[in-house]
């Protein structure tokens, strides 16, 4: 029956497929029509364990997927879920990427930062530049997924350019045609370097930030970054907001609310 009061308790869905993508990466698929924009996220509840935010990495009208990198207690359990396991989904939450028709764009992904960008890439035109960096060729997420060519770099040189995504973006800006927008997701230091490069070259960018989250509703304050509430105002922030965001690539809050340097925050997050 239709509920007379619309609550937003977790929607309980069964895992339909667990697809191993790369060492430490897996995608969980659920058969459900989620009203969704690229860049938005859902809160994923494993009953009895915890609930964490994940962006949607696969979307069709009757199925969606979330891609998980095994890092801590929750994600290690999550990549081991199998068909039929029950998972609670709240959301989608957040703003998503701002997509403008006719724009000439570059999309820059670092590691599993490809996850929130993948559905965006599928909505952008064929002349989009796609730059993807990974630790090594084995860690390249979704290697055969996109119609458009991708420029690849790896830390160890096992595939493509040996070096950073910013090298490739810099080259693209210098040698290619004009760009109207750069979209990026990856380690925060990478996104910061991309933001700086875009500022120098006068190109607007949008990046997707990560902070420890609780409510997803913009009320509890766990995920604040400067004056922005990441779960509600973000997770995608454009150049204008990033210019004012003094904690970008600098500070984040631990679960206790303690503000710490980003390096300490990320070592805590990966426990």
């Amino acid at each position: 029956m239709t509920k007379p009061v619309m609550d937003q308790k977790p929607l309980m869905l069964r895992v339909m497929e667990n697809k191993r993508e790369a060492p430490d990466y897996a995608t969980l698929f659920f058969d459900h029509n989620l009203a969704f924009r690229p860049g938005q996220f859902v809160m994923v509840w494993i009953p009895g364990l915890d609930e964490k935010p994940y962006t949607i990495s696969h979307y069709t009208p009757d199925r969606f997927g979330i891609t998980i990198e095994a890092k801590g207690t929750f994600s290690r359990r999550a990549i081991g879920l199998t068909k039929g396991n029950l998972v609670g989904i709240r959301g989608p939450f957040g703003n998503g990427f701002d997509i403008r028709p006719g724009q000439r764009a570059a999309v820059v992904a670092g590691g599993c930062g490809m996850a929130p960008l993948a559905t965006l890439v599928e909505q952008l035109p064929g002349d989009t530049t796609l730059i993807h960096g990974a630790r090594s060729k084995d860690f390249l997420l979704f290697p055969d997924r996109f119609a458009l060519p991708r420029e690849i770099c790896t830390d160890d040189g096992s595939l493509g350019h040996k070096g950073l995504v910013t090298d490739l973006l810099d080259r693209r800006i210098t040698n290619g045609g004009p760009l109207d927008m750069v979209y990026a997701c990856g380690p925060e230091i990478m996104m910061y370097k991309i933001f700086q490069l875009c500022e120098t070259r006068g190109i607007p960018c949008q990046v997707s930030l990560e902070r420890y989250m609780r409510c997803g509703l913009g009320v509890c304050g766990a995920c604040v970054c400067g004056k922005q509430v990441v779960c509600k105002d973000g997770p995608v922030f454009g150049s204008e907001a990033l210019r004012e965001m003094k904690d970008f690539n600098k500070k984040a809050l631990l679960k206790s609310g303690k503000e710490v340097d980003l390096s300490l925050y990320f070592s805590w997050r990966c426990r």
């Binding site: 609550d7 989250m213 604040v224 004056k227 679960k255 503000e259």
Partner: protein, 301 residues
């Protein structure tokens, strides 16, 4: 609509409730800029504390249920935050909690030295077995906490009460007698519980949580009505206030200021200015002032 509250003049009667957003100077400043008259820091405790695992907050449509669980860096680990707050251009309430009378005293004394405009003692949080509500449901323990804290703080003291007290007016009077300068009521109602029937598990990781938002407003209004009759110190009334008309109702019950928390979920951060404007509109349409309607529901007949 400037309004006097104890030793400060506020731009309007709206207050950011403790536990909502109040994690950093930056975000408090944004809430102030979004029209809030007085902002409250997230409750500060005696030790570093993570709070509970997720899920911690669920939207039930008629309000929220939460068991965030009093996360705090601990009062001795907030020097950067205090240094930033020293250069603020807006008034703040610092909320504190403890697990014993001595912890309340110790935390409040230290926090007082950082010169917040007000200190609020939270003797009403339902989301920890050892802190908060355990003190606020009993007249003697409420009085013990308030009198111990009152001796060591140099700023006005607000006491935040729980609707779970058998007689909240009696607790409020005990707090007033022990030296409280104002009452804040109510904290979340409960605890309650939500069970997911597919997994057969309570949804909140802490299993139980406090209720807030529109579903608790009648309880909050009744509590403020009862407290107003019992005490002569000012009251911050909160619990489910979502519109200017809700705020007017709370003032008629006896509140001087109105707290806003869950409404941020439903109307965004600028809900403070919206509610202040809606109060102004209602008052001018009725040719009344805030002073005219304060406690008006207590009239004869």
């Amino acid at each position: 609509m400037g309004i006097r509250f104890l030793h400060r003049t506020l731009k309007n009667p709206t207050v950011l409730a403790s536990g909502i957003l109040g994690n950093s100077k930056d975000i408090l400043e944004r809430v102030h800029e979004a029209g809030c008259g007085l902002v409250t820091l997230k409750s500060i405790g005696p030790e570093p504390r993570d709070g509970h695992n997720n899920p911690t907050v669920i939207d039930l449509g008629c309000g929220l249920i939460n068991a965030v669980g009093l996360p705090s860096p601990g009062y001795l680990n907030m020097e950067n935050e205090w240094a930033e707050l020293e250069h603020r251009n807006f008034p703040i309430i610092a909320s504190v909690y403890g697990g014993s009378v001595d912890e309340y005293r110790r935390v409040a004394e230290y926090v007082s030295s950082k010169k917040p405009d007000f200190i609020e003692i939270n003797i009403s949080c339902p989301n920890s077995e050892q802190h908060g509500m355990i003190f606020g449901i009993n007249r003697d323990s409420s009085r013990a906490v308030v009198s111990a804290v009152k001796k060591v703080v140099s700023v006005p003291l607000i006491v935040k009460l729980t609707p779970q007290a058998p007689d909240i007016a009696d607790i409020a009077k005990a707090c007033e007698d022990a030296g409280a300068d104002a009452i804040c009521a109510i904290n979340t109602l409960g605890p309650g519980m939500v069970i997911d029937i597919e997994s057969k598990r309570p949804v909140l990781a802490f299993k139980k949580g406090g209720l807030s938002g529109p579903m608790i407003k009648p309880v909050a209004v009744r509590c403020v009505f009862d407290i107003y009759k019992a005490v002569s110190i000012p009251i911050i009334g909160l619990g489910g206030i979502t519109t200017g008309e809700d705020a007017v109702e709370m003032v008629m019950a006896g509140a001087t200021l109105v707290g806003i928390g869950t409404a941020v979920r439903y109307r965004g951060i600028d809900v403070f200015q919206k509610i202040a404007d809606e109060m102004d509109t209602w008052l001018s349409e009725h040719n009344l002032s805030l002073a005219d309607i304060k406690g008006a529901a207590h009239g004869e007949g």
